[in-house]
């Protein structure tokens, strides 16, 4: 092995370790940020108190409400933000490679349209059905996105093969139809309208441990599956025929990757609504920084997506404190100019 490739491996591990450290710092910043003032010392004590054996030695000098706010509201919210940021960024990277299209994002083949339809239906009808601790809105958002994705996928299948251009177009077609229906529901929604608008803007304010429990396994497993297909993703960038001639079972790999990325997106959307921008732009930002190789692009996108959403959510809580704004506004407001800056600074075409 020559020095160059050893250096590449070392560079990659450095970037990953750096991002993990930044993620850790972001988690701390986000968990101490909020309209309720809880000091860092108190949080440290609360955490130590939970640890067996040494916990008993910590004297309880904080209000019970602080403990509730921290453990029941902030902590699940930070964890959920991390998971959703990762899921959206990884799904976006995967879609962009499968479609070989820089405009692709996790919502491109109808996940968002299906989820919005499901969620708005649940709000409009006032459904009270819930499952596994999922709220009816989450449940219907999830079902909507899964059904629509499945439908779009089957429309674009010719024989055994998947035609990605058709997949893209049928996603747009069905998305347009569903958004008409969704708009109509909003038009007749009356006083339920603001709930619908809030859901569609996306946010993490309803996060609970139940949400985390429902999505954590699927999102982590989905990301790991995609991670182990990094080499195939690189080859898909080279074109389907080239990938196949180099030994990739293109149809099978595409199916696996589409299923994994659609599922993690559906799980993310079901608990957070439609948070935009993360899945579209994080992959591009990371591509500018680490290059097009998915073996580094996928893990760094996951980490940076998590960092970005956790920090954006912290900002969403303090900008108009004590009220908070939808996190989608923050992600686009800060992400857009940052991305433009990187585009201006880049030395070569990224896609």
């Amino acid at each position: 092995m020559d020095i160059k490739s050893k250096n590449k491996k070392r560079k990659w591990s450095t970037i990953i370790i750096l991002l993990i450290i930044i993620l850790f710092i972001s988690l701390i910043i986000s968990s101490v940020t909020g309209s309720a003032k809880i000091s860092n010392i108190q949080i440290l004590k609360m955490l130590l108190h939970k640890i067996p054996f040494i916990g008993g030695k910590i004297s309880v000098d904080w209000k019970e409400s602080s403990e509730v706010i921290f453990f029941r509201i902030r902590l699940p919210r930070v964890v959920l933000g991390m998971l959703i940021g990762s899921a959206l960024a990884v799904a976006g990277t995967t879609y962009q490679a499968i479609f070989k299209n820089p405009m692709a994002d996790p919502y491109i083949i109808g996940v968002s349209a299906g989820a919005a339809f499901g969620a708005n239906l649940a709000i409009l009808m006032g459904f009270s059905l819930s499952l596994f601790g999922l709220s009816p809105i989450s449940l219907f958002a999830f079902l909507g996105s899964i059904i629509v994705t499945f439908f779009v996928y089957n429309v674009s299948k010719i024989g055994r093969k998947i035609h990605v251009e058709t997949l893209l177009l049928s996603g747009i077609a069905i998305g347009a139809f569903l958004s008409a229906v969704t708009s109509f529901m909003m038009y007749i929604a009356g006083d339920k309208l603001h709930q619908m608008v809030y859901w569609m803007m996306g946010g993490l304010w309803t996060s609970s441990w139940a949400d985390v429990r429902n999505v954590i396994i699927f999102i982590i497993v989905g990301i790991i599956i995609i991670l182990f297909h990094s080499r195939e993703l690189n080859l898909l960038l080279m074109g389907d025929e080239t990938a196949q001639n180099l030994g990739v079972d293109v149809t099978r790999v595409k199916k696996i990757l589409l299923a994994a990325s659609s599922l993690i997106t559906a799980f993310a959307v079901s608990v957070s609504g439609l948070i935009g921008f993360v899945g579209l732009v994080i992959p591009h930002i990371m591509r500018i920084i680490v290059g097009p190789d998915h073996r580094i692009l996928i893990p760094t996108s996951a980490l940076f997506g998590a960092i970005f959403l956790v920090l954006a959510d912290a900002a969403a809580r303090v900008v108009l404190s004590p009220t908070e704004i939808p996190v989608g506004i923050i992600t686009a407001f800060f992400g857009g100019p940052f991305f433009t800056y990187l585009l201006l600074k880049r030395k070569k075409s990224i896609f």
Partner: protein
């Protein structure tokens, strides 16, 4: 052993693309698939590489149906070099070649020393090692194609499929790539099947040719048996001459386009009989605004022919390179001679192949057309016909041809004749 195809059929709905395709090839052989656009060459390459599945028929590698070989195992056995390959993503040349190792690396593993060694060997073999850290998309067309060959070699295949691999390259790169492939066939005992456009390249580099026409095999066999004038006329709809190149001893195919003479020109015409570049100095001194010019009979690639092309002279009777003047071309030349006002004969060597050109000059005199001869060397010095040329030359002088030792005097005289008209 090697690769065999039996009764292959492929089509889209009711449009038949290929039918009754059957041939086999063995290791150490280079086989070219020829045929005009739409004859099914590329489709056949895609069937062989399992990109498309045949409607009927079997393709076997080492007696195993490729249907029963997984994509991964097939990639270890067979590599494909496409017409052209590019990517806008910033992968280095080395990373692109390393992709050839994909079938050998497990999902959970990474490249080992062995893989790096094989990639290095493949890149050195194709003379691309020095550009390993360059970004692929910054390389030239020829360099990219060599990198792709290196990627194919990194797959350690026994069969190499090429789909018009040189059609987007300059002639020097075409030769370079075919030479590389040819030496691989010898050294690694590979089997090469290539869809090809250029008949001459195919004749020069390939051992066997399968000629496709309208989706079926029209002919197959050695180049000299397949590339016949009648086969090419039938398949490509082109008249041509097939000759053997005296220098390289390989076949070459020369399409003949029947020249359409520009009859509309009303300017008086001067006809030049020349060869070996001897007419160029005369041609470019003739005022083409006043006079029309014709030439005959010239061999293709003679520098006189190139000058004529440069001066955009349309009325030129051409013969295949290194070939004697055919009877048809002689008649064509006489026709041009008879229509002209003056015939100029330049200072060229005369052999049996172009002796007819002197006869054409004699015919001019018989029709009362003046003949001016530029004579730098005496006829004895340029006669390679054992006196036959000298005899004809004397006959020309006896019949009133004028000999000049300076180009200027000749052209002055020519102008005087033309002005009298």
């Amino acid at each position: 052993m090697g690769l065999s195809i039996d009764d292959l059929k492929f089509g889209y709905r009711d449009k038949k693309i290929l039918e009754k395709i059957g041939f086999s090839s063995h290791h150490g052989e280079m086989l070219a698939l020829l045929g005009p656009n739409g004859s099914g060459k590329t489709t056949l390459i895609k069937l062989l590489s399992k990109i498309l599945n045949p409607e009927r028929g079997v393709i076997k590698i080492e007696d195993v149906d490729i249907e029963n070989i997984s994509q991964k195992d097939l990639a270890k056995e067979m590599a494909v070099i496409p017409q052209s390959f590019d990517t806008s993503f910033s992968f280095t040349a080395h990373e692109i070649v390393m992709m050839g190792r994909t079938p050998y690396i497990s999902r959970f593993g990474s490249e080992q020393k062995n893989d790096f060694d094989i990639v290095e060997k493949a890149m050195k073999r194709t003379d691309t090692w020095h550009m390993k850290d360059s970004l692929f998309f910054n390389l030239s067309g020829g360099e990219k194609q060599r990198i792709i060959i290196a990627r194919a070699l990194a797959q350690e295949p026994h069969v190499l499929l090429l789909d018009e691999p040189t059609s987007s390259l300059d002639i020097n790169h075409q030769i370079e790539i075919l030479t590389t492939v040819k030496s691989l066939v010898k050294e690694e005992n590979m089997l090469v099947i290539a869809a090809f456009h250029d008949l001459n390249m195919a004749a020069k580099y390939f051992d066997r040719i399968v000629l496709l026409h309208k989706g079926v095999i029209y002919a197959q066999g050695r180049p000299e048996d397949v590339l016949t004038e009648s086969n090419i006329r039938e398949v490509y709809g082109v008249e041509c001459v097939v000759k053997r190149n005296p220098i390289t001893d390989s076949l070459y195919v020369l399409p003949i386009t029947k020249k359409k003479y520009d009859e509309s020109s009303k300017k008086p015409r001067i006809h030049i009989i020349s060869g070996e570049g001897s007419g160029s100095g005369l041609m470019n001194r003739i005022d083409l605004d006043k006079y029309d010019l014709s030439l005959g009979v010239l061999n293709l690639y003679d520098s006189d022919q190139e000058t004529a092309e440069y001066l955009k002279i349309k009325k030129v009777v051409l013969e295949a390179p290194f070939s004697p003047i055919s009877y048809e071309n002689h008649l064509e030349n006489i026709k041009l001679v008879k229509e002209s006002k003056v015939v100029i004969m330049s200072d060229f060597s005369v052999g049996s192949g172009n002796l007819l050109n002197l006869e054409a000059a004699l015919i001019a005199l018989k029709h009362n057309i003046p003949v001016l001869i530029y004579e730098k060397r005496k006829m004895e010095q340029k006669d390679f016909t054992n006196g036959e040329a000298a005899k004809l030359y004397n006959e020309l002088i006896d019949n009133g041809a004028l000999s000049f030792s300076s180009k200027k005097d000749l052209l002055d005289h020519c102008n005087i004749i033309m002005k009298k008209l």
